[in-house]
Chain length 199, copies 2
Amino acid sequence: MRPREFDHDDVLRIAFDQFWRKGVRGTSLSDIARDAGVQRGSLYNAFGSKEALFLCAYERYASEYLGSVQKALGSGTLRKRLTAFFDLTIKNFRSGSPPRGCPTTRGLMELASVEGEGLDESARKTFADLVARITDLVQEALSGGVKRGEFNGDPGTAALHIVTVTRGLAVLERAFGDEAQLRKIARHTIDLVLGGAGR
Amino acid sequence: MRPREFDHDDVLRIAFDQFWRKGVRGTSLSDIARDAGVQRGSLYNAFGSKEALFLCAYERYASEYLGSVQKALGSGTLRKRLTAFFDLTIKNFRSGSPPRGCPTTRGLMELASVEGEGLDESARKTFADLVARITDLVQEALSGGVKRGEFNGDPGTAALHIVTVTRGLAVLERAFGDEAQLRKIARHTIDLVLGGAGR
DNA sequence: AAAAATATTTGACATGGCGTCAATAATTGA
DNA sequence: TCAATTATTGACGCCATGTCAAATATTTTT
């Protein structure tokens, strides 16, 4: 059979970059094809549809992103680790100029119409993964030195709350665009989560 | 001059309903025109462009929404009022079937490309208004019976945090779609904000 | 080595959306 | 009554998505 003349991964990276900058609906396959030096038809042949291409590109990004989160959460006190998580998150969707926002959030909202079921599944996994990692973090801290009673409810709920805040930040960032404010909210959230520790 | 043959407000309501259900980019002016019994050209004559029409429709909605928030925050203890706020918010973006999500958040994310500057302004105002109302609420409670020291930082930061959570909920709702979970996060947030009061 | 099989590339095409424009129609005011 | 003004209407250009058949480049088979 005839070998393909372009690298799938290259195209996915290029496509994701455009999707992230201009949104899924705001990016045409012609744009991507031109940027990637590929014929538009080849993209259809390789991926089937624009939404399918976005999905592939998104999943490639998501695994990379989750990996970097994993790394950032490395070690240190709970406060330090949570701070690192918020820092990474804010830095991630403040990257580029103008800032490009949170890809998962943007994609999810943009495709959350009748049809956009493919990304729902994928975004759910991303969020679930984040919640799981933060839950582990909290549990680990609890079984370590951190005193119980500084958390309201179970670690899972705390993690859910934290991930919710990060996604809220992704939204506010689009509205206000003020990084200092985002950091303030992040710090405040950590203070709340760590109970009296930071007051 | 010739009188127009349709009611602006009717069209805005119909348009907003479609935008909310199918997204801005997923809704065509032909759809709206058909639904409203108006020619497509008339919409361009009256509003200028699809984005401008969306903006008008959004602003009509936003003032209605802020009014209902105002009402819901009416009276009672701070906990009761915050609970009412979360309830209204969740109920709002769980309305319809399937749930239609938060219009401000969806619109903001969808149009947050290079050009979408019109809605940025409008959404910023909506969020700023929400933050201001919640700030007032907290300040009122503080000058009333509620003890100081149950809040971390100033009331403004607390309000910002709360609004951030509601927007995070709008995102998670799209991913998980589980209303019970949203309520759990809301309750948890209130518990955190009210310090030791609810523990 | 030649031919068959198979997958990719390519360009043409159909469909549908946005936005513009000139022509037409319906009022109001002089 | 007629001019001025604004709304409506339908045709048009442009661009996007997605489909299809023809052409092309390999690998495998004979």
